[in-house]
């Protein structure tokens, strides 16, 4: 059930990759890599769609990535209203694309596709665990 702790609001409770939450608690964002064929997955998967193996390693997302795209949302679905406005974004780290939010303290005029970003974990006041992209 630990996956209920993922994100501002989680919609899923059970998954075979809930070790993702344990890594978030340790301050790490990790994806899975198939031990059999080496394919890397983010978001993490329990099953490899390339070779059908279910034997996975966890690899760490780290270093400097670049911003692929983003949008600053002025409206939100139910449960996210308090955070408005916030920026959802995608970044790429060593060939692996990650979706998440961008650090809200970065001024709008400094946000641009192609900018260098890092990723850091965070915990909300209610204990929910997540991660965000920061300027690098």
């Amino acid at each position: 059930m630990s996956f209920k702790k993922f994100g501002r609001k989680s919609f899923a409770s059970q998954t075979k990759v809930d070790a993702f939450i344990d890594y978030l608690e340790k301050g790490e964002v990790r994806g899975t890599q198939c031990k059999s064929c080496g394919t890397k997955f983010f978001p993490p998967r329990a099953d490899c769609d390339q070779c059908l193996s279910n034997d996975m390693d966890w690899f760490k997302i780290e270093g400097v990535g670049t911003l692929v795209t983003y949008t600053k949302q002025g409206f939100a679905p139910t449960g996210f209203e308090k955070d408005v406005p916030y920026t959802t974004a995608m970044a790429i780290f060593d060939g692996v694309q990650i979706f998440g939010r961008l650090d809200g303290s970065i001024p709008d005029d400094e946000v641009a596709i192609g900018m260098n970003v890092g990723v850091r974990t965070l915990q909300y006041d209610d204990g929910q665990l997540s991660y965000e992209f920061i300027k690098a």
């Binding site: 978001p43 795209t69 939100a76 139910t78 694309q97």
Partner: protein, 385 residues
Amino acid sequence: MSKDVAIIGVGQSYFTREYPGSIRELAFDAWREAAQDAGITAKDISASVICSAPEYDAQRSPAGVISEYLGFVPAPTFAIESVCSSSTSGLRAAYSMVKAGLHDIVAVVGFQKMSEITSADSQERMGRGSDIQWESPFGTMMPGYYASHAQAHFKQYGSTERDLAMIRAKSTKYGALNDRAVYRKVVTVEECLAKPVVTSPLKVFDCCGNADGSSCVIVANADRAKELCKKPVWFMGLGSGSASVTLTGRSNCYGLTAAMKAAQDAYAMAGITAQDVKVAEVHDCFTIAELMAYEALGFAELGKGVELVREGQNEIGGKIPVNVDGGLLSKGHPIGATGGSQVRTIVLQLRDEAGPMQVPGQPEIGLVHNVGGVGLYANVTILGR
């Protein structure tokens, strides 16, 4: 062109903010028009395919009640869903059933009563529109994903907010001519640009409005089509594709690969190229979606879609008139009904019956591009007369 499966009748309801009736009555409005158009009654229907996005339906498994109310019992019926592209997915199933010889006449009925649920419920469902395990927890919403594509398209190809505003201004010009459209007012490029931002860079007028509505397309084999119909419109090509739900699985964010695959398959089946298409309906749930469609469909080279916009080549009289019924932007977007409404427009165009929206010169080939989710599902249908 192999003339073996035809569309012999089309219908759609008025698209409105709040339909004053039930979903079965809404569906009947489109069926009535399509049946009268085809010159058939419910007894002629050998099977039906009912299309809607079920998260907006209070009724569970609506195919049964719709089929019953339209008088199709005991003909087989079932639902097909691919969110916003549901009714062209239904059309694909109907084509297959007729082509296979299982049925001679199939009704594809699309409907959505968006006002069936409260605004709060709608906001809640909006949060579950993407991958609920990995992306919804960040507070994503559909306009945000299309906005992310707009940012990427701007960066990659130099398109601008003004280009998008020009697409909306065009849409309103034709929407004003369409008595079935929910939005009938003409607005200027400057008015579009002055509207507040919803999710950067998309503003209020870059987004289509919700609407209640229904559509109906009657598909028949060649024998029945020739017997019943003076102006059958024939299927030339059907293409369909998919892409990953999670944005992280996409190869880029400045085009929709599912639509590109669907287009290639449809052109190959029809044995034509983009230049042969004389009128098109594309899925403009957001202005950026229409711009990306020009490129996916080959109306413009990748990155050159803006030239069609800036030169007005996307209007009646231009190289490729697109969405000259107002598109989703002005007609409104009743999810399950939208694809069927697009098909209706192209069928009327090919029959030279589109009234004030008619593309002159009696177009012989038309195309429908209908997308579900943010390029998650895509159907391209090529029709000819």
